[in-house]
Symmetry: none
Subunit: 215 residues, 4 copies
């Protein structure tokens, strides 16, 4: 997403001939992203002015635009670089139910979803944005749940015929819909109900007891 002018990540053996000139201040990327994230949180997408971002980052507008070609791209990146939960930092509780609740608790604390609403327009129109966005906010989350389910499968917790891939897709969809579309909090109560009446039954093949009021 970010413009990688200085890329040359892995200089080939044929001398990639590093471009001359002053190197980009790598630290500035983070400062700008941080400023963008703060303003996004404080004022929302429309309130996040590029001038304001530059000012808060102590940067010139040119510096911002040299690295991100548009406001949308900057926003995407500032969301991407938000801490993403990965499977490694997810404690293996040994229980599928506990693992899932942990994920939903974490998801409930993330503010990404509130902010990304302003981006969906861009996602629709700019293919380049779409793929990055998709990887981070869709595939990544599905993968996380899928991993937890896989652990459970290895422990023999899951039903033999369960479509774990599909089940893994249900969780992020529900989280997103609740936070972004329905605008209701992803609280513990809803998390438990989601796990106990949807995810677990699907994964383990064991029907659950009913409960009231979903949406």
């Amino acid at each position: 997403m970010r413009e990688d002018a200085t890329a040359a990540a892995v200089p080939g053996p044929d001398a990639p001939a590093r471009r001359p000139g002053r190197r980009r201040d790598g630290a500035k990327d983070d400062v700008i992203l941080q400023a963008a994230r703060e303003l996004l949180t404080e004022r929302g997408y429309d309130g996040m002015t590029m001038d304001a971002v530059a000012e808060r980052a102590g940067a010139g507008k040119a510096t911002v635009y040299r690295r991100w070609p548009s406001k949308v791209q900057l926003t995407v990146d500032s969301l991407l670089c938000s801490k993403q939960v990965t499977i490694d930092e997810l404690p293996d509780t040994g229980s599928l139910r506990e693992d899932l609740l942990t994920i939903f608790t974490m998801a409930g604390r993330m503010k990404n979803d509130d902010l990304m609403s302003g981006l969906l327009t861009a996602v629709r129109d700019e293919p380049e944005v779409r793929s990055v966005f998709h990887e981070q906010f869709v595939a990544g989350r599905v993968r996380l749940v899928r991993e937890v389910l896989e652990r459970a499968r290895l422990r023999g917790e899951t039903a033999p015929g369960a479509d774990l891939d599909m089940v893994a897709a249900v969780a992020p969809a529900m989280v997103h819909y609740r936070k972004v579309v329905a605008h209701r909090p992803m609280d513990a109560e809803f998390a438990e109900r989601l796990v106990d009446t949807v995810i677990l039954p699907l994964a383990t093949g064991t029907p659950a007891d009913a409960a009231p009021d979903p949406a």
Copy 2:
């Protein structure tokens, strides 16, 4: 949502004293909404300028603003007036599976979801928009699925302990996520898989056979 200045829909017996002057051209409402919808489809939310809407509708901007107080409200209305599927027009196939597939097929043909992405920002910030939006795009859809599930329950197709409210909430979430966030089509294949491996198992308490690749 629309400003009902001319309301007086049903003139009471106390002589409503029709205001003098030219009556609002009722047909204009539709022309404007149509223009808005077209532009929304062609250029997305940002590309749908109020100037462009007015021009295409052959109206002045003032005319548009006299009827809708803001761009967001106009957008909401132009989405609302899109044909919404109601339980009444849903043929009772007598089979839960068929009912669900019918719903998803219809949902797959709707373009609403693509368009509403631009609104989520407004939904976040303007409470007034939120409720209308929620009723139409969240509760309405959940209710539709819920009705179908209720029919099935009355036929004895559902498991006794199934949380039908929750199950009904899963379907719109999956549809929205797939179309708006993942930007993949809501095709027959996915619909079947969703029904067979998620909705039906949850509703009927009968585990299903596996299948590949969800997201």
Copy 3:
């Protein structure tokens, strides 16, 4: 110079069909020009920001740009509409020497010359600007002096063979050069010397007495 969208100055007999829509606020032109002139005086050409002009005029930038297509054009206009001395307001002292000294005294008080320096670049590149500029700052001034000389000729003060047109051209050139290029004040001392050793001798054909240090 100003964009005359509302022109239709003299509606032809074929009914020019006045365009509908809000008319331009004619008063705004003057407010903007006034703001521009003030800022030009206070801060110079570079300091006269378009944003500042708009703000001081209580106008939006779009309003300014709707009327003048660029900063240069606005500046030219704001200089043009500065009070220009015309032959009518010039008291006929009955003496060529007094008339000339009056002109130079007035010229010494004008700040136009200081301000127009920033424009000469534009004058060079934009033919449209050139003609307006020329009429106001060149021809107009020459004409003024020419009138005074003509009065004198009618009184018989001038030499028969004197090239009054050429003589009239000398005065503005000297004023401009002294103020803009040499950046020295157009004070009474210089004015007298200019009149007594250059203009009068040329006009009357009567050589003058010497004096020291010109430039």
Copy 4:
């Protein structure tokens, strides 16, 4: 004008201690000035970007700024280093009229005046620039004419009471005004008229015959 960091022109007896390090590439000065002059001619003052100057000179911007502290200074220098006519290279024709015509013919070929328009703003604001500018473009030219007049005086061509200093100041003013302000060419016709109806009469005290249209 140019920054003489490497100066040490005349090493004093107190051990000038030449600084170590690479010497400045003296040839670069000329390359840069040449680039500046070309761009000035091609695109005018505003179009002469410092980036463009550096690029065309095959230099870095730092190299340019190490030698000239600002765009204005560079411009002044690039104009200054244009060939200036000095009294020595002016053939003594033995006739004041011929001498003057020679000067004006040369002046007519110079492009300096067109280019310096962009500088007048800077001249107004920066005293440092003013003096250099003044010396070169004002005093120098006046001096040249003054010299020619002096030759004539020694030959007895001039009137006893003529204010030769003032007369010498008229010529550059007229040239500048015609070229920069009036934007008309300094052609032979105008030169002759200027000499015959203004300069010569003033210098020799001999009135001339009339002629039409000056400005």
